[in-house]
């Protein structure tokens, strides 16, 4: 299989990455090269094999539902691109 130019643009949009026409063509070629490599997987019979999501078979640890962290929002927001009155500023989304 190979990705069309349209596929590449759709994926870029899903990933929130702006791409120009020229860039999309380069990505198309490179990503298709990677998918040629990935295609080797398709010939493997994996009937009955349990997918391995993690290196260790672990149960998710649970903890008591209590506050464990102090309020550091001023410190954390001091590195944000734009803040005002404790809020992160982004372009207006609701008219």
């Amino acid at each position: 299989m190979s990705l069309t130019l349209l596929d590449v643009k759709r994926v870029a949009r899903l990933a929130h990455i702006a791409v120009s026409e020229d860039e999309a063509a380069i990505y198309q070629q490179q990503i298709n090269g990677v998918f040629d490599l990935i295609a080797q997987m398709q010939a493997v019979d994996t009937t009955g094999v349990v997918p391995m999501a993690h290196a260790q078979d672990l149960n998710q640890r649970l903890r008591d539902d209590i506050v464990t962290e102090p309020d550091l929002h001023e410190k954390f927001q001091s590195i944000a691109p734009q803040v005002a009155e404790g809020l992160y500023l982004v372009p207006q989304v609701i008219e």
Binding site: A15, A18, V34, Q40, T46, V50, M52, A55, Y88, P91
Partner: protein, 488 residues
């Protein structure tokens, strides 16, 4: 002194023959002298380092020193360090000053070790040559026309050039072992879950693991005693009894069964690397070990599986970089979506964007089963290969890389060629096993060769012992790159 072991440095500090301020200053001087060429460090803060050194001296004087108190260490710039710029090799985080310490950083801080600064790396740890760093590539100290490997190339070059006695690294598909091999140092990737990932900027969370990079296995064991252990802030951190990673250093090699996977010695392996590895195996046989052939039949599939799973995990992990809470934000945009798209287009480099797009695609509706789930199934087959091999041997050995360090530009225009160079390291991450690289030869081109050791789960201590016994009878780990000899 620049070639001293951590044990020797600790003794000099304990006997007050040198202070931590003197030792730290000496390494800072070497960084000032050699870093303009090597580009191993992206951030150095002499004032902060010397303040830590002064605190370490006070601690030593008070009699409250731990084993490594006062010894300097460099941190890969993937670890958040409170008050230090933490870039992950990316424009996205070029001005990001971390507001907290990674677990690994705080462990070394609590041990009284002195941070020398943050080391250069491939952007978001995606690369095998350091050429994807936003801050320019690191040069290999053995030959500055050669790559140092990646992604922990800055840490590797810093230790190799003796700009730091030790460094931290992370390994998702070989990022500790491959640069260690290419720069002639010793590196360990622990079993997944042994070292906390808290504060370590995530690439592929089911594969990422931090480990030590140093001159010798003995030094790595001392560093593991500091960095390993349970941390409740990492949900995959393992609750296990505290270990002394030096406990097996003196274990004899007699009767050790070394498994040699036939897939690691076939097509694609350079003759010179094969000879270097064979010479190391001969040393082990002299020490009483025996070698047996084993098979890891799915090795070839580890690369396609990795290039589905790692991008898939990366595409979700890197979704957090949106220009809102921290990091880069594009200067011009039309609306919120455009702000995200411009920020990510400008903030990420080409390799990172390529992997995010691959990951987004394989996780998208209609392709999940064919790619992501199939890759997870083959991942289990790869892990089972190791389980079967370890029924016949105690340790697996082979080359870390198929060839010595390649030249800049050799593979950077061909992602596939770059990916294939990680053929011997990736499967270890997929299985979650511990692996090491130990210097075992220097090729005719003057570039180092690494021997890889792979152990069963939680066998770090044994692996370090096996590597140490080799380093007791050889001196490859003592060799320094040409021109680094000027004493301090």
């Amino acid at each position: 002194m620049i070639n001293a072991s951590l044990t020797q440095l600790a003794a000099l500090l304990a006997q007050k023959k040198i202070s931590s301020v003197e030792l730290t200053s000496a390494y800072l001087d070497r960084i000032a002298r050699f870093n303009p060429v090597l580009n191993a460090f992206v951030t150095v803060d002499e004032t902060a380092s010397l303040a830590q050194a002064a605190a370490a001296d006070a601690r030593i004087a008070s009699g409250a020193a731990a084993t490594l108190t006062g010894i300097p260490i460099a941190h890969k710039d993937i670890f958040c360090a409170d008050g230090w710029r933490t870039t992950c090799g990316s424009r996205m985080l070029a001005n990001f000053v971390a507001p907290y310490d990674a677990h690994v950083v705080s462990q070394f801080k609590n041990a009284g070790m002195v941070s020398l600064g943050k080391t250069n790396m491939d952007e978001f740890a995606m690369g095998s040559s350091n050429e994807t760093s936003y801050f320019g590539a690191v040069k290999n100290p053995w030959d500055i026309t050669a790559v140092p490997g990646g992604s922990s190339g800055g840490s590797a070059a810093a230790v190799a050039a003796r700009l730091a006695p030790a460094a931290t690294g992370t390994d998702t598909g070989g990022s500790i072992r491959q640069p260690a091999a290419l720069t002639g140092i010793t590196g360990l990737k622990p079993t997944y879950g042994v070292v906390s990932r808290y504060g370590m900027i995530a690439f592929a969370s089911s594969l990422d693991q931090a480990g030590p990079m140093a001159k010798s296995a003995e030094d790595c064991a001392l560093l593991m005693n500091v960095m390993a252990g349970f941390d409740e802030r990492d949900s995959t951190s393992l609750e296990r009894p505290v270990e002394d990673y030096t406990r097996d250093l003196a274990q004899p090699m007699a009767g050790l069964r070394i498994g040699l996977p036939r897939e690691y010695f076939g097509e694609g392996l350079s003759d010179e690397v094969a000879r270097g590895v064979e010479a190391a195996l001969a040393e082990y046989r002299k020490l009483g070990a025996q070698t047996v052939e084993v098979s890891l039949p799915n090795t070839r599939l580890s690369i396609p599986v990795y290039y589905v799973l790692a991008p898939a995990e990366a595409s979700t992990n890197l979704a957090r970089f949106d220009g809102v809470r921290y990091g880069y934000r594009a200067p011009d945009y039309k609306d919120l979506t455009d702000m995200y798209e411009q920020t990510r287009a400008q903030g990420f480099g080409a390799e990172v964007k390529r992997r995010i797009m691959i990951g987004t695609y394989v996780l998208s509706h209609g392709y999940y089963d064919a790619y992501y789930l199939q890759a997870q199934k083959i991942r289990r087959l790869i892990a089972q290969d190791f389980t079967e091999a370890f029924a016949h041997c105690d340790v697996i050995m082979g080359p870390t890389t198929p060839e010595t360090a390649f030249d800049f530009g050799d593979k950077s225009s061909d992602p596939i060629a770059m990916y294939l160079s990680d053929i011997y390291t990736i499967a270890v991450n997929l299985a979650g096993l511990p692996g090491m690289s130990v210097p075992c030869a220097i090729a005719a081109n003057g570039r180092p060769i690494g021997l890889q050791l792979i152990g069963d789960y939680f066998s770090e201590s044994r692996l370090l012992g096996i590597a140490h016994q080799y380093q007791r009878v050889t001196d490859w780990h003592e060799r320094m790159p040409p021109n680094s000899e000027q004493q301090i």
